[in-house]
């Protein structure tokens, strides 16, 4: 069953220099208990998508120009303000990227967690406090530290406080926006471990936004790759990692220095991300794509989403005849090898 369905979502920002097309017609769904990784580089539209889901895109300058976000059969974009307030932080909660700024510096961490609980659950103050202590212990922070302020905690501990807040009301869906990017790698391992474990215990769905494909391999069941406001490839992690189809996804993998193989020279993606106020015609990736020269259609027409194998979607003209492309590639491989 799908917990969340995003259909044809587009988000624009009106700025002095032009209209930024941040998110362009994306479709995405998330099943009960599933972890979906949303991957992309800076400016790909990952965070804007997440904010769109919670109806948090600041307007103006932002504007959701098309699409629906269906949660439990209701389009969240049509909900009234107070209905949205009830869902946000309760049934759907968010873990922000930067734990240093996500917490209020003038309230103790205990007060901040209790606030979430008393906003969304009908309970006495004492019950809320008891629940707050439970949550802190769940994220392995001693209860006596509830009276401390955020600046007295380290980065890893602050992020655990943010996680405790996000989980306090037993959400059905968590949106985690780069939850470990600001953390060191040994602390990242602790935090990811904790998110995965707590998620399993409560059968929550998780939309995990990240730029790190390593994190995706470790925590996700499915992944969606974003480029210039579009989802260019989506599928199970096996599809994405072992049967990579889109040239951009391939470029991403080739750019990462490998830990287990010896590579003399990296193969970066040539060129730069397109300017979001002036996106190229046709396929948005074609100016950087090594295959675009062979196919004139790439610079003319926007590719549609091809389902190359069940559940594996690729937005690329080369996939219009996937079987043929595959045999071509095998041949190339033989020629090279």
């Amino acid at each position: 069953m799908n917990v969340l369905e995003i259909k044809d979502l587009s988000i624009r920002f009106h700025t002095d220099t032009g209209v930024v097309q941040a998110v362009n017609h994306i479709d995405l769904n998330l099943k009960q208990g599933e972890t979906l990784g949303l991957v992309g580089e800076t400016g790909a539209g990952k965070t804007t998508t997440a904010l769109g889901v919670l109806n948090l895109v600041q307007s103006p300058p932002g504007e959701i120009t098309s699409g629906e976000i269906v949660y439990k059969g209701k389009d969240m974009l049509k909900l009234k303000k107070h209905e949205m307030h009830a869902i946000r932080g309760g049934e759907i909660s968010m873990i922000f990227q930067d734990p240093m700024t996500a917490l209020n510096p003038v309230l103790t961490v205990g007060e901040q967690i209790t606030e979430v609980i008393s906003l969304h659950q009908t309970c006495s103050k004492a019950e809320a406090t008891r629940h707050m202590v439970d949550m802190l212990e769940k994220v392995r922070i001693p209860a006596q530290r509830a009276d401390d302020y955020p600046h007295q905690f380290s980065g890893g501990m602050k992020q655990r406080v943010v996680i405790a807040m996000a989980l306090a009301c037993h959400p059905k869906l968590i949106i985690a926006d780069e939850p470990t990017t600001a953390l060191d790698v040994t602390i990242q391992a602790q935090v990811l471990d904790m998110i995965n474990q707590l998620k399993k215990e409560s059968d929550t769905s998780l939309l995990l936004i990240t730029h790190d494909l390593g994190v995706v391999a470790e925590s996700c069941e499915r992944a969606a790759i974003m480029y210039a406001g579009e989802i260019v490839e989506m599928g199970s992690v096996e599809d994405i990692f072992d049967h990579t189809a889109h040239p951009y996804t391939k470029g991403l993998f080739n750019s990462i220095p490998s830990l287990d193989k010896e590579i003399e020279r990296l193969k970066p993606i040539e060129g730069l991300m397109p300017d979001p106020t002036n996106l190229p015609k046709g396929c948005k990736f074609h100016p950087r794509c090594p295959f675009a020269l062979e196919l004139p259609v790439c610079s003319q027409e926007e590719p549609r989403n091809f389902e190359v194998t069940p559940g594996h979607f690729v937005k690329c003209h080369r996939c219009s005849n996937w079987a043929e492309t595959l045999t071509m590639e095998e041949k190339e491989g033989e020629d090279n090898g």
């Binding site: 602390i187 990811l192 391999a217 287990d260 990296l266 970066p268």
Partner: protein
Amino acid sequence: MANILEVKHLSKYFKTPNGQLHAVEDVSFSIEKGVTLGVVGESGCGKSTLGRAILGLNEVTDGQVIFEGKDITCAKGKSRKDVRKEMQIIFQDPFSSLDSRMSVSQLIAEPLKITGLVKGKEAIDRRVSELMDTVGLAGRYKLSYPHELDGGRRQRIGIARALAVEPKFIVCDEPVSALDVSIQAQILNLMDDLKKERGLTYIFITHNLSVVKHISNEIMVMYCGCMVEKCAARELFRRPLHPYTKGLLSAIPVPSLHVEHKRILLEGEITSPINPAPGCRFCSRCAYAQEMCRSSAPEPLEVEPGHFVACHCISEINGI
């Protein structure tokens, strides 16, 4: 080959209101010419301070820095200026390390003018064009200002500035950390090419372990101001010996579904470097810590040729 740089018992302390902060503690190592030494560690482990202390950007509290046989620890005035022509730095953040009121050509010409290496307006202009070409910046950006360029191009300006005085040795302080992976790969390739063409020696400071493995010949792991392990890059990933290195390497998320993962989860967090307790800095997180670890700090030992480890329990842990 001869050592281009030797660092002997280098320490750097900072005074803070809460006591003395031991940023770098008794670090010794040497680099051969043409070798890239990667320095890895988590935030606050003293890797940037080490880089800056070597260049004399931070005054050293104790120890010696010897560059090409000369002690430059306390070099000042003209002798410091002369050393600066040989040793340069590429900074981490291409957004704050460039003067936003200078154009690209002014930025690259600045070191040429300061050192007086190239004289005359035309000669400087020619040299700037050459340097832009070397680092892959198109000539049309000459009159652009940093805010008009993206992170990758800005970092190329930083590299051109460092190369302008034709140094032999460059400290690269997290030069790709602020960049996206596709741009990061472009910059790493550029740095690799420059090293081969010009026979440069790098100290490459980073927290990204896959980057450090790719670019380095040797790697030094730092924890809380101390060097805990140093050896050839391949050796470190094949057979890490220090318990911290083991934990650090196993914590990296690998972008592949076919890598067996035995994660050693390090509990706790980095201890404070302010007025540190005697003994091994890692012992509060170490699963093998004994009484001895809490009372005396371990010295780095060469357990195998070229493989240095600072740990009391090294033989117990690894069965050697």
